[in-house]
Amino acid sequence: MKEEIIIAGFGGQGVLSMGKILAYSGLMQGQEVSWMPSYGPEQRGGTANVTVILSDERISSPVLNSYDTAIVLNQPSLDKFESKVKPGGTLIFDSNGFHRFPTRTDINIYQIDAIEYAYANDTTKTFNMIILGGLLKVRPIVLIENVLKGLKKSLPERHHHLIPMNEKAIQTGMELIKKLN
């Protein structure tokens, strides 16, 4: 199994940490993982993105030009990455603030309105876990149990009490996501 994912959005949206949780989850189920962020000042006020690869084999190139799955959380990210999803691949987006929607027909397109939900339910802290839940619903690449193990490993002990909240957010995401095409 091998999954090549790009997650892209505004700087503050927790894109990088979502990728990290995903990578940790892969690690907990014994996979090879790589996590490669865009970096530097272009993040500032602009977009941030991260490429995550989970694989059963040694990962060769950590930098990719096309992806199995793209998760895009703002307009510029959609504009940039829609075309880079492999035919038959998956595109997940949060439509908040979008004025142009995805148009490809050779990929699976999902919408998840996590931003709106998070604002409405005052759960902006777990916003990125909602997205992750959505992803896992349509691409069950890691077991939720391994996500939680990964959280346990990566979070400092004093934050472990937050794990149930995160689990809940994942469930929410699984419910929120809907296929568009």
Partner: protein, 253 residues
Amino acid sequence: MTTAEIINPANLVYEKPKLLNDTPMHYCPGCSHGVVHKLIAEIIGEMDMQEKTIAIAPVGCAVFAYKYIDVDWQQAAHGRAPAVATAVKRLMPDRLVFTYQGDGDLAAIGTAETIHACNRGENIAIIFINNGIYGMTGGQMAPTTLDGMKSSTCPNGRNVELNGNPLDITKLLAQLDGTCYVTRQSVHNIANTRKTKKAIQKAFENSMAGKGTSVVEVVSTCNSGWKMTPEASNDWMVANMFPKYPLGDLKNE
């Protein structure tokens, strides 16, 4: 009178300076750099010096200053803006030449260039944005980071024992024979911003009058690096930066 009626060119009292172009600035929301850019653009416009200006950008968040203010620019290597400016001014003495530098650029890697340009008394102006941190590279400790202040390379706060003392470089520059005007200002409210504008204008005038080097330090915020909101940053600056870097003229000859 309705708002719509008031909004009329005849009633204009403030607008974006003409020399500040429409390119959106890459700075974080609330960053002091933007305010100072605006002042510089305004002053050059008011002094009608666009055709005579050669500005020197640093390496630091302001590296892209050249994208925003419509004059000729050179982007200098990290810390070397005063050297670059020296050459430009010596070779084109009738031009307005100024550097725009951060505290890492001016007071760490560029210490020697800054001190020697000032000591030679180059007829340049140095605009020094002291935000007590390396903004561009993600919030590391700067020479001017305060005792106890946190940064990504002193996550528990600067510890003088481990990290050395904060450096008041402007005080040193005021001691040098080559400087004619050394002042410390800020842009956190309208009153101080107006003063800063006057200071920069004076620095530019000095440099054209051949009086020596002028240094305008602007004690600034870097809300990203400080990990505070822009407003909280202003308050923190007033409470913490000003005592160590008090505003006012250090030298005015």
